[in-house]
């Protein structure tokens, strides 16, 4: 059965279902129990599962993650919620030096099956300490899996997969997407496997890759490109950045011969920088134009509404990038390439 629910509910349902299925799954984080989550994602969990399995923690990010790592090594399946991705920087040591390294450095004799959820992204005037996007940071670390869902259905399916998975998973959520609605299956066995991109819209002229909120921005831009410019864009949401379903992206680029990558994070060493290199390395002969990147501005996120909006990519920016990539080669009255 499908039902239309919000992203935050989909995430909550994923946790609740997995907690019912497996007694080793528990949730901890700052204000996840009594307060029910800073973004209300853990609503109702304490009521159903009690304080033993839904635990408020002190403000001690590195230790919260470390307790999760230790508990996972001893066979539990922790879900750690960090209040925002910016705060996850205080836990980088446990995430990178411990969670990611332990399975490898102990030669597989220890495993760290845990999920670290963290919301990020701008758009809420929270300024330079609460609004960032660190997908690129985490995607760089071998040993971690990185999920970045953009729809309620993917949020649920990927979170269920993450909880069942044997590896440490960085699960990035976007604060602006918590309220969006979508059809979500209530089949408890349904998961979204890691490493499988979703083609959101099929097209012929250009491939647009977008993650998190930018997956939606990419889709909206594609609709407008079709309508106003006669450009048929294929839109891909990778859904997970590690592993990355490069096959699907490359197949699309080989068909459209153009690529535009959209993300909210910073340009230097970003998701787009990485993906653009991969496309150039592996599909160079198919490219008719340089790969375009649409990114957040290269500054700490400003507070002023005007400035913040200017620092975040919008449809116009995507359209502009697509037009630059197609250089007028496609569209009504301009003929084929």
């Amino acid at each position: 059965m499908m039902a239309e629910i919000r992203m935050r509910e989909a995430l909550r349902d994923a946790m609740a279902e997995e907690m019912r299925r497996d007694g080793n799954v528990f949730v901890m984080g700052e204000d996840v129990a009594v307060f029910q989550g800073a973004f209300k994602v853990t609503e109702g969990l304490m009521e159903e599962f009690g304080e033993k399995r839904v635990r408020d923690t002190p403000i001690s990010e590195n230790t919260i993650v470390g307790i999760g790592v230790g508990a996972a090594m001893a066979g539990l399946r922790p879900i750690v919620e960090l209040m925002t991705v910016n705060f996850s920087l205080l836990a980088l040591d446990q995430i990178v030096n411990h969670a990611a390294a332990i399975p490898y450095m102990f030669n597989g004799n220890a495993r760290v099956p845990m999920v670290i959820r963290m919301p990020g992204g701008g758009g809420h005037q929270l300024g330079p300490t609460h609004s960032h996007s660190f997908e690129a940071l985490y995607l760089q670390v071998p040993g971690l899996l990185v999920a970045c869902p953009s729809t309620p259905a993917d949020a649920k399916g990927l979170l269920k997969a993450a909880i069942r998975d044997e590896n440490p998973v960085i699960f990035i959520e976007h604060e602006s997407l918590y309220g969006i609605k979508g059809e979500v299956s209530d089949d408890e066995d349904e998961i979204v496997r890691f490493g499988e991109a979703a083609v959101r819209r099929e097209g012929e002229d250009v491939t647009i890759v977008g993650i998190l909120k930018m997956a939606h921005v990419a889709e909206q831009a594609a609709a407008e490109l079709e309508e106003k410019h006669g450009i048929s864009a294929e839109v891909i949401d990778p859904r997970t950045l590690r592993p990355l379903d490069l096959d699907t992206i490359l197949a699309s680029v080989r068909k459209t011969n153009r690529a535009v990558i959209v993300e909210e994070g910073w340009p230097h060493g970003g998701v787009g920088a990485n993906l653009s290199t991969l496309i150039t390395e592996q599909a160079f002969d198919w490219l008719d134009a340089p790969v375009q990147r649409v990114t957040g501005a290269d500054v700490p996120m400003p507070y002023s509404r005007r400035m913040e909006q200017a620092a975040i990519p919008h449809e116009e920016n995507v359209i502009e990038a697509v037009l630059a990539a197609t250089e007028g080669a496609i569209g009504p009255g301009k003929g084929g390439s």
């Binding site: 001690s60 230790t63 230790g70 332990i102 004799n109 490493g195």
Partner: protein, 375 residues
């Protein structure tokens, strides 16, 4: 002074301490011969703190330590062979050559690892203890760390959380008076580290870490207390390392006379004296303990020496577990090979080439910078 235990216990304590001492001396020698690489931190002088503690732990209790933990693994029963092989970076090492001296691990004996990040093991200890409590098991986790680590944020965070959640952890500071070359007076505002427990509302006690019988006595009381009351405690074992912080330490921060002074309190020699005076052990017992340690360590070096290097094909193994939820991972994104289905076991050409290039470069570096013998 604690009571002298029975003969078997004394033999066991002496045997383990001698083994650690011999192992560490030999590790230092093998490092100078460039058989072991990286950093090498020896625990010579700290044997009583280690063995006193492990000798009163239950088999199902967890132990977790730092980068100075060859001895802790030995005390837990990990074969010297596997530890020496890890120092040599061999496939037969405790971590298959992926961890090295700072990252010894033996889950089977519940030695939950050595960790190279100062203070990094404290949250992990709380996590292990949390798992025990979650499952209603009465196992205790012993977390050992240095005086220097007591200044890290992890110390404050973890002590608070463990006390708040009533986690069964004995936090044991191996206070050897230095964090690398910085003496405790120069790195900690409070130098009686057991007092740091007060701020978290838990018990703290300073003990003589050079006296294996006192360590046994006191740690066993703490274990009992933590096991039954389910609250953490802090033990500060006063101890000393005779050797430098690591093998690359010229020791300009302390006087030779200070080292000499501590040698007078040698944990092994003093224990021998007590046992022989008491009559529980004879001179022959002592000699055979030393001989046995010699033999074990000699065999360990031989074992490590003839163990194979880890195969380069295994470079990408053990990075991820592949299964229902994630069916594959790309071993190197740069590989132009098809991506789906790439598993660690069959790394593509490109990945293998990369590994070999690195290996070639390393042996070149070795030839240039590593003469057979180090000073």
């Amino acid at each position: 002074m604690a009571q002298v235990p029975d003969r078997d216990t004394c033999l066991e304590l002496l045997g383990r301490m001698c083994l650690i001492r011999r192992f560490e001396e030999e590790a230092g020698r093998q490092y100078q011969r460039a058989k072991a690489g990286g950093f090498l931190h020896l625990a010579i002088g700290e044997e009583a703190t280690i063995v006193g503690t492990t000798s009163v732990m239950r088999e199902d209790d967890y132990l977790i330590g730092t980068y100075r933990t060859h001895g802790h693994a030995l005390a837990r029963g990990t074969p010297a062979d596997a530890i020496m092989a890890e120092l040599f970076g061999r496939e037969t090492g405790t971590s298959g050559g992926r961890g090295g001296s700072m990252h010894i691990f033996d889950a089977e004996r519940r030695f939950m690892g050595g960790y190279g990040i100062v203070g990094g093991n404290l949250p992990l200890a709380a996590g292990l203890a949390f798992a025990s409590k979650y499952r209603d098991e009465d196992t205790v986790t012993v977390c050992m760390f240095g005086d220097g680590a007591s200044n890290t944020g992890n110390f404050g965070e973890t002590m608070n959380l463990a006390a708040l959640w009533e986690l069964p952890v004995v936090f044991l500071v191996e206070n050897n008076l230095y964090g690398m070359g910085t003496s405790i007076e120069r790195h900690s505002a409070v130098t009686n580290l057991s007092h740091k427990a007060e701020g978290y509302g838990i018990e703290g006690e300073r003990i003589d870490g050079m006296d294996v019988l006192e360590v046994r006595d006191r740690v066993s009381a703490h274990l009992e207390e933590v096991r039954t009351k389910g609250r953490p405690s802090l033990v500060e074992a006063f101890t000393y390392r005779y050797r430098g912080h690591s093998a690359a330490d010229p020791e300009i921060y302390r006087d030779k006379s200070e080292v000499e002074e501590w040698r007078q309190k040698d944990p092994i020699e003093n224990f021998i004296k007590v046992c022989v005076e008491d009559g529980v052990l004879s001179e022959e017992d002592v000699q055979s303990a030393r001989d046995e340690a010699d033999e074990t360590v000699e065999a360990a070096v031989e074992f490590a020496d003839r163990s194979p290097e880890p195969p380069l094909e295994s470079l990408y193994e053990q990075l991820y577990v592949v299964g229902e939820t994630m069916g594959w991972y790309a071993v190197d994104e740069r590989s132009p090979e098809p991506h789906r289905g790439e598993l660690g076991e069959d790394a593509p050409e490109k990945a293998r080439d990369l590994a070999e290039t690195v290996a070639d470069r390393e042996s070149e570096i070795e030839r240039q910078h590593r003469p057979g013998v180090r000073e």
